[in-house]
Structure formats: C-alpha cells, structure tokens
C-alpha cells in the first residue's frame, strides 16, 4: 500500500456576524478511509459537493484534515513534494499566465535540483516529447495554447520530478470528449512507462471505468461504496451508486 488514509474528516466552520463567530459547521468529509496499492489507479467518483476535491487536497497535503491521517509508504516516498504530484481540474488556471512554458517546466527541476542549468532545456524538451509536444512550445505563454495542450503541459510538469504517485483532480472534465480520450490514453501510457500510481478523481463514471482499478463512491463527504472496478459496475450495492449508474446509462 503506497497511500493509506485513515478516518479522515474535514470540517469547515462558517463564520458570520460582526465578530466572526462560528455560526455553523460544514462537514466536507466524514470518516473517510482508503488505501491505494502501488502501480494501481484508485478512482474517486462523486457529484459536485461530495467532497472529492477536498479529499484530493488533503492527500496532496495542500490542506490539513480536521481528523485522521494520510500515510505514505516511507520506503517509496521520502521527499513528498518531489514524489507526489498533483494535476488540477482547470488547465486554464493551473499554469501561471505570466510564465513561459519553459519556465513552468524548469521550475520543478530547479526546486528539486534535478538538472544542472545547462541540461534544463534538454530535459524540458524530453518532457514535452513525452506528452507529444514540440520544441516551439518552449518560448510561448499558456494563453497561446488550447485547453488540451495546456493539460499536456501540466502533465509534463508533473512528470519533471520523476514522481511515484500523481493525484489527478478532474483533470479532463472541462475539455471536449475526443480531447479527453486522447489525454486519458496519454495518462495510461505514462503510467505504464514510468510505473506510476494514480489517485483519479472524476464525476464521470465512464471515465473512472476507463481509468481505474478500484473505486470509491463519495456522497456528501462519506464513502457510500468502495471496491474493485468490476464488482461496482456489475453489482452496485448502495442505492446511490445504482442511481448514478442508471443516469449514466440512460
């Protein structure tokens, strides 16, 4: 098990009134436990408001859980920010608009001292090549690329640190279906090539089916169903999952 999450809860307090008194509590996540096997893909599926993005951020250590812990196999992952990468939902927002593509790609290499200054360019070209982009991208700004191309650049940036595990928070949902399919195939290819573990979050059951080995279904911050891909699709036990499957099949 490369990731092991136990009893994660996350509450957000709602402040109101003049003195910012706590007037309410939003339970974004309630007692969520799961583990991810190395070299596998765990899909997390849920509708908007189910807490799936919050879960992704907690696993990525971008926010702290209120209760519970997320442990990583220390033998596999010793430098967290290098070994665990995140790819975000909105490719239009996850690249710095004022940074050229080469600088975006050099940044992780520089931070983790993975390349000498003279090797930076070659390394960046190699990364772009993996995601199917050419040298001409280097000097350009994110605004000059389409959503699909930007997400390819984000994938290249994530691969720069030679990670063991990538957390993907709805990485394709804002794109056209044909582009989605190409990106999913790219993600499957790099997963094989670099022996990666994925935590893949989506609201789209068919995308999860395409990508994941096992799946957890989130509803209002709780896990309603958890198991292997095949069992979930053939024998959904929870009425919520059955309902999700039915509306997706319609």
């Amino acid at each position: 098990m490369i990731i092991h999450a136990t009893h994660i809860s996350k509450y957000f307090s709602v402040e109101g009134g003049m003195y910012k008194r706590r007037t309410g509590l939003v339970r974004a996540l309630e007692d969520v436990s799961f583990s991810v096997e190395e070299f596998s893909t765990l899909g997390i599926v849920g509708e908007s408001g189910s807490g799936k993005t919050t879960l992704a951020k907690i696993v990525a250590r971008l926010i702290a859980p209120t209760k519970g812990t997320v442990e990583f196999d220390s033998g596999r992952i010793n430098n967290f920010r290098k070994d665990v990468q995140v790819i975000f939902q909105n490719p239009y927002a996850s690249l710095d608009p004022k940074m050229r593509i080469k600088d975006a790609l050099y940044e992780p290499l520089l931070i983790h001292r993975l390349a000498a200054p003279r090797q930076l360019r070659d390394k960046a070209l190699e990364l772009l090549d993996i995601v199917g982009m050419g040298e001409d991208a280097l000097g350009r700004f994110p605004a000059e690329f389409s959503g699909g191309q930007r997400q390819r650049i984000c994938i290249a940036r994530a691969l720069a640190t030679q990670p063991k595990c990538i957390i993907l928070d709805e990485p394709i949902s804002s794109l056209d279906l044909t582009i989605q399919l190409k990106l999913l195939d790219l993600l499957l290819r790099v997963k094989e090539e670099f022996r990666l573990t994925y935590l893949f979050i989506s609201h789209n059951l068919s995308v999860i089916k395409y990508m994941a080995d096992s799946v957890i279904v989130l509803k209002e911050g709780r896990i309603v169903e958890q198991g292997g891909m095949h069992e979930l699709f053939s024998h959904p036990s929870h009425p919520y999952t059955q309902n999700l499957l039915r509306s997706a099949r319609r």
């Binding site: 975000f88 996850s94 940036r157 720069a160």
Partner: protein, 267 residues
C-alpha cells in the same frame, strides 16, 4: 500588440522631459544660478527664450535643471513607497490572519494622518533637504499600493496555479516573487505612475511654501515662489514653470490611463 495613442503620447512627453533632465548640463543655455544684473526680469527674447527672473537668471535653464529635481523626487519618492507598499501588501495578503490585521491597521493609521500637514511638521523639525522630501513623501504614500497588492494577492492565491506551485514544492518566497507579484504588479504600476504625478505636485506645493527644495537649487515649485511678487510685471515666471508642472502631470496621467487600457483594467 499595438500601443494605444494615449500611452504613446504619455511616453513621448515624459521621455522628452527625461532627456531634458538627464542632458541638462549640455543643453541648458546658461548656468541655472548665474546671476546677471544687467538682465533683470527681461521678457522672453532670443538670448533668453523664456525670459529671466528678478536676479537675472535664465528661466529656461532653471526649468531644465528643475526638471531633474522634480522628476527625480517624484520617481524616487514613489520608488520608496512602492518598495514599502509591495513588501507590506504582499506579506499581509499572503500570510493573512494576525500579520495581515497588524500590517493593514498600520496602513489605516498612516492613512488617517493629514499627510500634507504631517509633511509640513516633519520638514519644519528636520531640515527641508531633497533627500528628506523624497523619504517623507515615500513614507506617507505607500498605503494605497499596499492595499492594492494585498487585494490582488488575496484573489490570486486562491487560483489553481498557485496551488500547483505549492504542489511542486515551491517555497513561500518563490511563490510570492515568481508567481504572485508578476501577476499582481499590473494595476500597481498604473497606480504608481499616478503616484509620481502626485508626488511632483506635492513637492511643488512644499517648495512653493518654502518648505521644499531650498534655493538656489531650482525646482519647479521654488521657481514659482518668485511669481508671487512679480506676477504683475513678469508673467513668464508664473506661466512657464506652471506649464512644466502641468505637462508633466498630464504625461504621467496619460501613461497611467494608457497602461490601463493596454492591459485591460477598468479600475
């Protein structure tokens, strides 16, 4: 991208004045403090294109040298306020919580002072040198910039690319300097350009009251002092320094307005 006309006009005006200021020793026809008792208060003529003052000094030369003082006071004062404002604002916006409250309440307190009278008081206690004027204007005008930077950073730091930078392991300093500030500086530059105009105006007012740049060093404000006494007999002493101030302010406002259009802000 094409530059808009306003921006071009502004840059042309300020560029021209800047060249005048830098090349002052080479292009001004006379020494600015050269007293010529045979030519007191002569109107504009071929020898003295903008006339002379009551000590017979050449007005054109004084205005050209005055441009050095006035422009450098404006730019350095705003530089100081930019430095303080950007540091204070980005720390406040990025860290939030108590630090934010403390920094912004300080800004509010400074903002409550009637700036002009504060400057008058400080200058009365210290001596009114050029350096003092620059520093005091800078120290009392950083709050707007701090607020602007803070609000930009507050909204930027929720954006995904900042999360992405955190996720690849970027340090706080790196996030602020490499990601937040480049994206937040646009409106700040617009604001600072307007600030230069404001600072030049403030310096002129101070000098006019005799608490700014001290004669014989010429600044546009202290050339105007003399106009008080000679307005009836020598209109040129009032008109030309006034015009210089007017054109400079106009130039900076053009640049600010042009930048706003160029970058698409509607603030």
């Amino acid at each position: 991208m094409r530059m808009n006309k306003l921006l071009c006009a502004g840059i042309a005006i300020i560029g021209f004045l800047g060249v005048l200021a830098i090349l002052a020793p080479f292009i001004s026809p006379y020494e600015p403090s050269l007293i010529d008792s045979t030519n007191l208060l002569t109107p504009p003529s071929y020898a003295h294109p903008l006339g002379t003052d009551s000590l017979g000094r050449d007005l054109l030369s004084r205005i050209i040298y005055g441009a050095r003082i006035s422009l450098s006071i404006g730019i350095i004062a705003v530089g100081i306020s930019l430095l303080i404002g950007v540091i204070a604002g980005s720390i406040a916006g990025y860290s939030g919580g108590l630090t934010d409250s403390v920094i912004m309440r300080c800004a509010d307190i400074v903002l409550c002072f009637p700036t002009f009278f504060l400057i008058l008081a400080v200058v009365a206690v210290l001596e009114p040198s050029i350096i003092n004027i620059m520093v005091i204007i800078g120290l009392t005008s950083w709050m707007g910039i701090a607020r602007l930077i803070r609000s930009e950073i507050l909204s930027l730091k929720e954006r995904e690319f900042i999360q992405a930078a955190k996720a690849i392991g970027a340090s706080h300093i790196r996030i602020i300097c490499r990601h937040l500030l480049p994206n937040a500086m646009g409106p700040v530059f617009v604001n600072a350009t307007l600030g230069i105009a404001g600072a030049i105006l403030l310096e002129s007012a101070l000098s006019f009251l005799g608490l700014g740049v001290q004669p014989p060093v010429p600044s546009w404000g202290n050339i105007l002092i003399e106009s008080k006494a000679t307005l009836g007999v020598a209109w040129w002493i009032t008109l030309f320094p006034g015009l210089a101030i007017f054109v400079t302010i106009l130039g900076f406002n053009f640049i600010a307005e042009g930048l706003k259009k160029q970058w698409g802000y509607n603030a």
